[in-house]
């Protein structure tokens, strides 16, 4: 065994509950997933949208090229303006310009609507779309189309809104998952904790953790149960040990009768109970006559046999509820409780005398006829406390002894 003391377990100042931990963990994971998928979708969407926007610009430029073609042939700015008119109604076009074959601007149009997000426009449409206007295979001019962000802004707005919605769903989902986890994980843990707490606080060693659904926790529960089994075994052993010790402390080893200490305790209890009830009880003080002589004549083993026989006969004569103790070498005492009108202590004393008078077979093969002197004291007639009662009973016993000697 290691004699070194184990260092005290360090305690963490602030604690978090498992549910909070799980909730935070879930939120993190879900947020990450949502952000990742959202970003992917947004990127894919933006790429696709950019493709469409490019295509849109290109188609607009083609349409413009078709519209302004005769105007360029006839070098007619007014007609070119008219040719561009259908394009000015297409959303997402910021600026149009028509150049003739030598690169001089013929007409130009700028959208009256302000660009909602110039930065987006710079990212998506850094250059104008230029389409060469051809007539019979030769270039007669160029049309340039600048896009703006008005069509994209809706998508971005929608994307952001969807992202926000996802975030909300994430939050709710996290709460739901955390609840679920609380049910699945925290509940069994709590069960284990409850059992441990009960055992520690109320010494309920019979408590056991119920089988749990989660394998790891079930193993933990099983280990705790095994530990409790051991504890219960120790506890039982200790209790029986303690009972033996207590019995030893309160009983006489020879006759197995309660000893003086146990008698004092019993007497106090009986006085208390009789006082509370207003009832009566009797004390019989029994002393063996000429016991010293028996001891001397037949030896200590015979004396012990006589004492054992005496105690056995006294116990035989007692009724249920009466209490007998050996309080000295050859002194016994009996508490007769309750003492009702029919039960007379003197009668009981007579019965004890009769029973004791039967011959006792000694270890040496001889027989011995024992005799006892008995003094009776009654509560509350002869005293209201232990000392007074004992003194009274002792005195009565001596009186009885003198009488029997004179007999």
């Amino acid at each position: 065994m290691n004699d070194q003391p184990t260092p005290p377990v360090e305690r963490i100042g602030t604690r978090t509950t498992l549910q909070k931990l799980l909730s935070r963990f879930h939120f993190g994971i879900t947020l990450f997933a949502v952000a990742l998928s959202g970003l992917t979708i947004l990127l894919a969407g933006v790429t696709a949208l950019r493709g469409y926007a490019d295509r849109n610009m290109e188609l607009a430029a083609q349409l413009g090229a078709y519209g302004v073609e005769p105007a360029l042939v006839f070098n007619d700015p007014q007609a070119a303006r008219e040719g561009l008119e259908p394009l000015t109604r297409i959303p997402g076009i910021a600026r149009l310009r028509v150049l003739n074959d030598v690169g001089r601007p013929v007409t130009e149009w700028t959208s009256p609507a302000a660009d909602p997000a110039p930065m987006l426009t710079r990212i998506f449409f850094p250059h104008p779309f230029a389409v060469t206007v051809q007539r019979n295979g030769s270039a007669i001019g160029t049309i340039e189309v600048w896009g703006d962000s008005s069509t994209l802004i809706d998508y971005v707005r929608l994307g952001l809104l969807a992202g926000l919605g996802c975030l909300l769903v994430t939050a709710f989902g996290t709460v739901f998952l955390a609840r679920r986890f609380e049910y699945e994980l925290v509940k069994p843990l709590n069960e284990i904790a409850t059992v441990a707490h009960d055992v520690r606080l109320h010494r309920r060693f019979d408590k056991r953790v119920q089988p749990l659904g989660i394998a790891e926790l079930d193993r933990l529960g099983g280990d705790i149960n095994a530990l409790l089994d051991e504890l219960q075994g120790w506890q039982g052993h200790m209790e029986s040990e303690r009972a033996i010790l207590a019995h030893r402390a309160s009983h006489d080893p020879l006759t197995a009768m309660p000893n003086r200490a146990a008698f004092d305790e019993q007497l106090a209890l009986h006085i208390e109970a009789a006082e509370a009830r207003g009832s009566r009880f009797a004390l019989l003080f029994i002393d063996a006559d000429n016991f010293k002589a028996a001891n001397d004549n037949f030896g200590h083993a015979a004396g012990d046999a006589v004492l054992v026989a005496l105690s056995a006969r006294i116990k035989e004569t007692l009724r249920k509820g009466d209490f007998a103790a050996r309080i000295g070498g050859d002194e016994f005492i009996v508490i007769i409780d309750p003492l009702d009108s029919e039960t007379r202590a003197e009668n009981l004393a007579g019965r004890i005398r009769g029973s004791v008078a039967e011959p006792v077979l000694l270890p040496g093969g001889e027989t011995y006829r024992a005799a006892v002197s008995i003094g009776v004291a009654t509560f509350p007639d002869h005293g209201r406390n232990a000392t007074a009662l004992l003194t009274a009973a002792d005195a009565a016993m001596y009186a009885d002894k003198l009488t029997s000697r004179s007999r």
């Binding site: 005769p70 105007a71 006839f74 007619d76 007609a79 051809q134 007539r135």
Partner: protein
């Protein structure tokens, strides 16, 4: 579609009023500016015409009758490759071989006779001597200040088998068109 409906509509309504001046070609302010502008405009008009035989505009024969007012060097400038053969002729010598008739200044009787003869034939008629475009030529060139314009006579186009690109009709019809 709308343009052709408009054509049919104008056919029965007020024939003289269906021609309007609109196109405003800028003429460069030098010696050959007007000639270049006229040739470019005539070439452009010819390139937007479709003959029933579906052959391209290049190689067509243009017969010039009378004296053109706006230029004395009539060489239509077709956009893209190819050119138009130009023949100077008289009203009496006009044959169906001509794909395009350019009517310069000429006696009113000759003009009326030529317009009547053209009716129903796949011949494009252009004039520069009818600013209001009232005498039956399909396209009428008109010079004003430092600009050149053309008008379209939708009745005349509607009567003939030639098809003109509606974009050109739109330019020739000016603003407020369909």
């Amino acid at each position: 579609m709308l343009a052709s409906l408009f054509l049919i509509g104008t056919l029965f309504a007020t024939p003289p009023m269906s021609a309007q001046a609109a196109s405003q070609t800028v003429v460069e302010d030098d010696a050959g500016g007007m000639t270049r502008a006229v040739n470019r405009m005539v070439g452009g008009i010819v390139s937007y015409a479709r003959w029933p035989d579906a052959a391209p505009a290049s190689g067509r024969i243009m017969c010039v009758v009378g004296t053109p007012r706006l230029t004395d060097r009539m060489t239509p400038d077709l956009p893209g490759p190819g050119a138009i053969t130009v023949r100077q002729t008289t009203a009496a010598a006009v044959t169906p071989e001509c794909d395009i008739l350019f009517l310069g200044r000429m006696p009113v009787g000759d003009r009326r006779q030529l317009i009547a003869w053209v009716r129903g034939r796949p011949i494009l008629t252009i004039t520069d001597d009818d600013a209001a475009c009232l005498y039956g030529a399909m396209f009428c060139l008109n010079s004003r200040a430092a600009s050149l314009s053309f008008s379209v006579n939708l009745d005349a186009i509607g009567r003939g088998p030639l098809r003109i690109d509606p974009r050109v009709l739109r330019i020739g019809r000016g603003e407020g068109g369909a």
